[in-house]
Symmetry: C2
Subunit: 372 residues, 2 copies
């Protein structure tokens, strides 16, 4: 008779699934298993004491001594000992389960079935305590962007148009440092803060380097992860020190218009792809086209948004191929952008939760645009 | 005829192998492939521009347009299109290659062979430029611990033995914040800084929480990752505000003695397990035994050290089962510890590189012990 268990082998600090299942973060891999009857985790002696106090109460903690037949204490041996102890014949595992372990479990006669979905589909729909954690991370991002805007406000513009703060050139590196200090002081881990100016801002993922200039976009994309719980926030603002050319300001307004109208569309039953298409339509109608020249894309060439939770990018996506309707409870970014190699890029990103009657905006920071 | 390529599908920010192969960090997965003749990477339009300027020069950059048969742009389709374009019959992949992708590639008729080793075994032996990056991260950790020690020095001891800094109780959280601010200001990502005091320090991985006390151990384990290159540093110091009981000071001295004598043993040809055993012997002879009571270990119950590079824990290990001799060029921690539930723990960790004539210590920070 077949008996199937869920199995995770992962490090709680790296795996959102593991953190979701046990709430216990570790630098090293450990085991989690679940059936209809029980949920358990197996950790090394090094982690046992801390696991006992930090794990979710509904997960039973086991040590290596509970599986004495796994004499070498390897994760595969522990999984095999677990299977023997429960007469397990099949493990359901996540899509990214490590191949070598799967091959070894299969060689020992077990079925190992990778889930083609998100393994814990309920992760897509946030509990109120999760929304609180995400909002807390978002507030930190807002504080950090505010601190950065104050520095830009206090900067002067040198003859060569570079920004100058406290007697020194204001660089992307310095602005990122200011942002990241606020995040760390608030108990979050900054990982890839973007503070990109000028033409660098035409590349959505360029973190930015070198001097910042007046009259060109400064894109700040800030996504802190709370050290305590592992939840992320996500926020992007684009600002200008002194007004940019009219064409750039028109792009800013089009992006803001797209963001606001898309947010207003979001509710249970809506198809994300339709919302993405609406953003494209609004931007195109405003005169900002999307396309490709040589090997570079221009216009609006990334998805409109993505889920945020224990991962910075998770389900659902607001993107051209996202055809499953929203159900309510999702926390997603809404972040249209426009990018042109000639003058740079604009991105404005809010975070919303899908409620029965529409999107509730979690972001409280205003749009700042021109700082004079 | 069989034709075999190496294949990675991973995010450069998360995968040390990918970072090693291409030097290009991304939040999202992309492809890397290598044969005797060529090395290439396939990235999305979103990453193309940045990849062009940041990737290693010896890796050829491809976009999705170069593989038009992968119409859905999924990573599996791209890997299949790559295989068709080069008549590849087998992919060699890392042990942690995602199972679902492997199953899909296998279903399409390809052999997918997980490597049971470290995939790029050359990663274990550091180039001088890698040693420089690791040392730079280590210097930041040293600056951070120095800053923390200054705060402890400037703290007063309240009647209840708690430390008091600038009129407030000094907590693990505050001390960790001081450490992490130094790391961030220096361009590094703090991830799980340990600043654990009193009985919490008896758990090697306890990050610490709540007030810190005089006369008991304060363990600071600091492992920053440089944002620019991805390399880690690792440092642990244990300090006391006012002298601890004699027994605890004796443990401190035994740990320091073990660290120094083990460092002096390290050189090419030495078996790591023998060095670990020597640490156990030194600690035991000093009167500090290792064992287990109930479900808690006490004494010295973790490995003596581990490799450090693009991962904070990587090969080689200095541990009881590590029986392959050192070869030279490895960067490893030497970090004996003693942990007792009655009074807490001591850990002292240096970082060394194995040179032809012995271990060169990369750590420059002194042992501080008692801060009065």
């Amino acid at each position: 008779m077949s008996k199937k268990f869920d199995l995770l082998i992962a490090a709680g600090e790296k795996s959102a699934l593991m953190r979701y299942a046990t709430a216990f973060a570790t630098p090293d891999d450990y085991l989690y298993f679940r059936s209809d009857e029980e949920a358990g985790m197996i950790v090394s002696p090094l982690e046992y004491g801390r696991a006992l106090s930090e794990k979710r109460p509904d997960v039973t903690l086991y040590g290596y001594d509970d599986f004495p037949s796994a004499a070498d204490h390897s994760l595969v041996s522990l999984a095999l000992a677990l299977a023997r102890s429960r007469n397990i014949t099949e493990f359901r595992v996540p899509a990214d389960f490590p191949l070598l372990m799967a091959d070894r479990l299969r060689a020992a006669g077990l079925r190992v079935t990778p889930d083609s979905g998100s393994f814990f589909p309920e992760r897509e729909f946030k509990r109120e305590d999760e929304i609180r954690e995400i909002t807390q991370a978002l507030r930190l991002a807002e504080d950090a962007v505010r601190a950065a805007c104050r520095v830009i406000a206090e900067s002067t513009v040198a003859a060569d148009r570079t920004l100058c703060y406290e007697g020194e050139t204001l660089t992307s590196e310095k602005l990122r440092g200011i942002i990241d200090l606020v995040l760390v002081a608030g108990g979050a881990q900054p990982t890839g803060t973007i503070a990109a100016g000028g033409l660098q801002s035409a590349e959505p993922h360029n973190p930015g380097s070198g001097p910042l200039y007046a009259g060109t976009p400064i894109v700040m994309d800030v996504f802190p992860r709370l050290a305590s719980s592992g939840y992320w926030g996500d926020l992007t603002r684009t600002v200008f020190k002194t007004p940019p050319p009219d064409r750039v300001l028109a792009a800013y307004r089009a992006v803001r218009e797209a963001r606001e109208r898309c947010k207003a569309m979001l509710r249970p039953g809506v198809i994300p792809a339709r919302v993405h298409e609406e953003a494209v339509r609004i931007l195109t109608e405003a005169g900002f086209h999307t396309g490709r020249e040589g090997d570079r894309d221009f216009g609006f060439f990334h998805g409109l948004g993505h889920g945020v939770g224990l991962e910075i990018h998770e389900a659902p996506r607001l993107a051209p191929r996202a055809t499953s309707p929203l159900q309510g409870g999702e926390v997603v970014t809404v972040e249209p952008g426009l990018y042109y190699p000639e003058w740079g890029g604009i991105r404005l990103e809010d975070l919303v939760v899908i409620r029965p009657d529409g999107a509730e905006c979690l972001t409280s920071l205003e749009d700042i645009a021109v700082i004079d």
